[in-house]
Symmetry: C2
Subunit: 141 residues, 2 copies
């Protein structure tokens, strides 16, 4: 596969570049200063948002090449093929990018128990922010 044309996050002042970024057909993902792009993964079955993670250029390349989601773990500082230990391998059915190409939205079929969160829940977003007497707390639901 040909390499992905990465574009730096700054220097968008030029209107032509902005137009191309937003309305063009060239995939030029904008990695941040750490070389990462944020990725949201949602379930192919019902659209539930499962998790948020990051890819570097290598993780994105591997994801595109293999059709299986690879991420960059910021806490472990390593490339990470989701599901290698949990079995929750994510077969990617679609990748979208946003207007300014600094975020990705993946639609995935998760293997194993179909979940995505290391805590055992299906989605990482298992807590809701509730205002308890004006102070925000978390509710499991």
């Amino acid at each position: 596969m040909e390499s992905i044309q990465a574009r730096p996050s700054d220097g968008l002042s030029d209107q032509g570049a902005k137009q191309e970024l937003e309305e063009g057909a060239a995939f030029t993902p904008r990695f941040d200063a750490d070389g990462l792009i944020v990725c949201v993964a949602k379930a192919a079955s019902d659209g539930q948002v499962l998790m948020l993670a990051y890819m570097n250029a290598e993780a994105l390349r591997l994801t595109l090449e293999t059709g299986v989601a690879h991420y960059w773990s910021r806490s472990r500082n390593c490339l990470w093929r989701k599901g290698d230990t949990s079995g929750q391998v994510q077969v990617v059915t679609e990748i979208r990018t946003d207007c300014d190409q600094d975020a990705l939205l993946l639609t995935v079929d998760a293997g194993g128990d179909g979940g995505a969160c290391h805590t055992g829940r299906r989605s990482c977003f298992y807590r809701k922010v509730a205002l308890d007497g004006g102070s925000p707390t978390l509710v499991f639901e």
Copy 2:
């Protein structure tokens, strides 16, 4: 409203802190080195992922206080009440946080034309990555 307890992004080596972060009821959003937390906004009506943006502590506080989404614009470097110019004001019906509290998932009712993207589309994720002869390109669909 009482202030939100911000927690730095590092220093999670302590297992007790990790347990509290993941299984506790305290909302302790982890802002990054720039003081931002990533936010995904999805539509209350059908769950479509509309956009991805960032909040600083002030934007989050205002969102919680007013029930209307406020973000931090990284390109304009300013606080931003979504919809101030477009009319696409986002009434927040739910806020969720993920396991390690470094991401937020908002469910919103968008005003105006119901869209979220400054290009006029409903969702910012209006292009799909397609592999054209092995090279990734973008398709509008």
